[in-house]
């Protein structure tokens, strides 16, 4: 067969290209045992020679999560400003490089890679959704870099490259359940957005309920961003549950509470405990619709601690008096200070030294004293149940007597033994 010039040229090109590709091949994994310890690709490129040190902030500044994450970005900025004003970290001013995660896990992974490899940030702060964290985790592990993650999450995770400054399940969900049980709740209805956090949280709740004799009368998920809750609300009403445990995210809460109330359900008939509604979200939902409902967090703007008063005042003076502070914002603010404390204890920005120095480092955070647990890189937190008051702020109605040690894998709870097979 006659091969045309074009084709012949193309074949030879392709052959050459394949040869290049094969020549470029690196190591194959021959021995799985040693594979895990394969040296990481880039030795750290963090530049500690100058008078400043780079840190990365990664938050969704566009897309559906921008609503929540931009607030975290604000409080991170506040912390950076304060730290710089008081002399920086190890005498170096923080140079913040901010990246937009755009509410997409893939984007988070890509941008985190950029912060580590291209910008050589000493540490990265941010992330919100579980998927954004899960997406970034391998990037930080592969590059042996540090991420400070400031949001309550579903637990069952621990990485030496991630510091979790938000609550894990035993610092938020389990105390909330304890509270409900204490109040005599015998049956629950679970409502959540269809993604990882609610599903995992509900798995834990189911296990807890089974162990404590609480009946779970329903478990419903709405697609993220869904605004149609007629059916779910009808099911809740029909179930006559004692309480609803709400793990809905974002705007769905608005629709849920409006429609919840419109079929005649209120905090008095069937109270709702929410773990994703903070001060920021209340105005959008409409105070009428959520007043008196319960929340579970470790921080509220109304907390009466000196550190919190200072934090709230500083935040309002920087961003405006109409702005409010919330748990993830506080956790983000705390995370930057914790990193500073750890680095100063280690006397170095190097990742392994920071990891080694982390255990036991404390910070007088707005929520109270927090301590880093070096075993799982989580921090101690004080769970608080709140009730949404008439001003749209949240009052603490119950508070854990002491800070709770983080237990991401719920190893200390008998009923949770079967959660991870």
């Amino acid at each position: 067969m006659r091969v045309s010039v074009t084709k012949r040229a193309f074949y030879s090109l392709a052959a050459a290209a394949m040869a290049t590709v094969l020549a470029g091949c690196g190591s194959q994994i021959a021995d799985p045992a040693s594979a895990g310890s394969t040296a990481s690709s880039g030795t750290s490129c963090v530049d500690t020679s100058g008078s400043s040190i780079k840190v990365g902030f990664i938050n969704s500044l566009s897309g559906t999560m921008a609503i929540s994450e931009s607030t975290v970005f604000d409080s991170l900025s506040l912390a950076a400003e304060e730290i710089n004003a008081s002399g920086g970290v190890l005498g170096k001013q923080l140079e913040v490089i901010s990246e937009d995660g755009a509410s997409e896990p893939t984007k988070f992974a890509e941008r985190a890679g950029k912060l580590i490899q291209q910008d050589c940030a000493a540490a990265v702060f941010g992330g919100w959704t579980s998927s954004s964290r899960k997406a970034m985790l391998p990037v930080f592990e592969a590059n042996d870099a540090l991420l400070f993650y400031p949001v309550q999450y579903e637990g069952l995770e621990s990485s030496k490259n991630i510091f979790y400054t938000g609550a894990t399940t035993n610092q938020q969900i389990i105390p909330a359940l304890d509270y409900l049980a204490e109040q005599g709740t015998k049956s629950l209805f679970l409502v959540g957005s269809d993604y990882v956090f609610p599903r995992t949280a509900n798995k834990i709740i189911q296990a807890y309920a089974a162990a404590k004799g609480i009946e779970v009368l329903g478990e419903e998920y709405a697609p993220l961003g869904s605004t149609e809750f007629s059916t779910i609300v009808n099911k809740v009403r029909d179930s006559k549950a004692d309480a609803v445990f709400n793990t809905l995210n974002g705007d769905s809460n608005v629709a849920f509470f409006r429609q919840y109330r419109s079929v005649g359900l209120t905090a008095d008939t069937i109270p709702v405990v929410s773990v994703s509604i903070a001060e920021e979200e209340v105005p959008g939902i409409g105070l009428d619709n959520v007043e008196g409902q319960l929340t579970a967090w470790d921080y509220y703007q109304t907390l009466d601690t000196p550190a919190n008063k200072k934090f709230v005042a500083a935040f309002k003076s920087k961003f405006g008096t109409e702005r409010v502070t919330s748990d993830p914002m506080e956790a983000a603010y705390t995370s930057l200070y914790l990193w500073k404390a750890i680095v100063e204890k280690a006397g170095s920005f190097e990742v392994d030294k920071v990891q080694a120095a982390a255990d036991g480092v404390t910070f007088e955070a707005p929520e109270g004293l927090v301590t880093v647990n070096g075993e799982n890189n989580h921090i101690t937190k004080t769970p608080r149940i709140g009730k949404i008051n008439a001003e749209g702020l949240i009052d603490t109605v119950w508070s854990s007597p002491a800070a709770v040690e983080p237990d991401p894998f719920l190893a200390t709870y008998d009923w949770a033994k079967d959660l991870t097979k």
């Binding site: 559906t64 921008a66 609503i67 931009s70 269809d194 419903e220 998920y221 709405a222 697609p223 961003g225 869904s226 605004t227 149609e228 007629s230 059916t231 779910i232 009808n234 099911k235 009403r237 029909d238 705007d251 809460n253 608005v254 629709a255 409006r258 429609q259 109330r261 419109s262 079929v263 005649g264 920021e280 979200e281 105005p283 959008g284 939902i285 409409g286 105070l287 009428d288």
Partner: protein, 294 residues
């Protein structure tokens, strides 16, 4: 029984929201073949209109009643501008209108975020719409009832306009046969503008309505646009009658699916039903004897 009625009503109510969102779309899609992806953002504009009006008039009841015509105007004017600036040059390439209006949708979303902020804003429902009435033990939310009524009112108004006014006759003539109408002296230019104004205005009203049940945020429109298009497609292009049946059928079906499975699976099932339905009737429930698009 109680639950059955509750669910039936949930279906009807969802259907009425879909109808409200799809009514204007059906008109613009039917008459001009324009696939207006910014229709959802016109809804959003209507919703923010309700918010702005409520800032000015604190009485939620009065502001709601003012918002409805105001939302219609805002949506309609946005539509007029879009038509005049972009779409009039694109009637001969309907598919491209989809992408152009998608771009417009992006811009409007971002504009809303820059103007009103990313978090959703609160549009209060008036006191007389709080609560519910009981129908055989099932609670029928008043807001839902209001939306159902509003959508039927819009439908009646639109039908009346199309059937009983000279303007409506002109619009229908253009829908049936654009060229013939043009040659017989109907100003298609004028009737295009008017259709677009009315269709987009209906989106504005829909936006005002959904503030009663959901959140008012820059992303409000994205929640409705795909569903609204499915209603139009399943109903048959340019067929108000078809859109009505499709909207309520989809609403009830979705409630049934959602009740018997989960919300996510229900949504997937609905989409599958529509795909299969279009296999059986590629032209939708009703098909118009025009060859303008299909």
């Amino acid at each position: 029984m109680e639950l059955l009625i509750g669910q039936m009503f949930a279906g009807l109510s969802l259907g009425s929201v879909l109808l409200l969102a799809a009514l204007g779309l059906s008109l613009t899609f039917g008459q001009m073949g324009v696939i207006n992806m910014a229709h959802g953002e016109f809804m959003m504009a209507g919703a923010y209109t309700a918010f702005v009006v409520q800032q000015a008039i604190s009485d939620a009841g009065v502001s709601l009643l003012v918002s409805i015509p105001a939302g219609f105007l805002v949506g309609g004017v946005l539509g007029l501008v879009l038509e005049a600036v972009l779409l009039r040059r694109m009637y001969h390439r309907p598919l491209d209108t989809l992408l152009v209006t998608f771009g417009v949708a992006l811009i409007l979303q971002q504009a809303a975020r820059d103007i009103f902020g990313a978090p959703s804003v609160d549009v209060r429902a008036p006191g007389w719409l709080q609560g519910n009435i009981e129908l055989l033990g099932a609670p029928i939310p008043l807001t839902r009832l209001f939306i159902l009524g509003l959508s039927l009112l819009c439908l009646a108004g639109l039908v009346l306009l199309l059937k009983a006014t000279p303007l409506g006759r002109r619009i229908r003539a253009v829908v049936l046969n654009r060229d013939l109408a043009e040659t017989s002296g109907v100003s298609t230019r004028r009737s295009d503008q008017l259709t677009f104004f009315i269709g987009s205005g209906l989106a504005g009203i829909a936006g005002v309505a959904v503030t009663l049940i959901g959140s008012t945020s820059p992303y409000l429109g994205t929640n409705y646009i795909v569903d609204a298009f499915l209603v139009v497609v399943a109903g048959g292009i340019g067929q108000i009658k078809g859109a009505v049946i499709a909207a309520f059928a989809l609403g009830v079906l979705q409630s049934v699916f959602e009740y018997s499975t989960t919300a996510s699976i229900g949504k997937v099932l609905i989409l599958i039903v529509i795909v299969v339905f279009l296999q059986l009737r590629p032209q939708g429930i009703f098909s118009l004897k025009t060859r303008s698009l299909a």
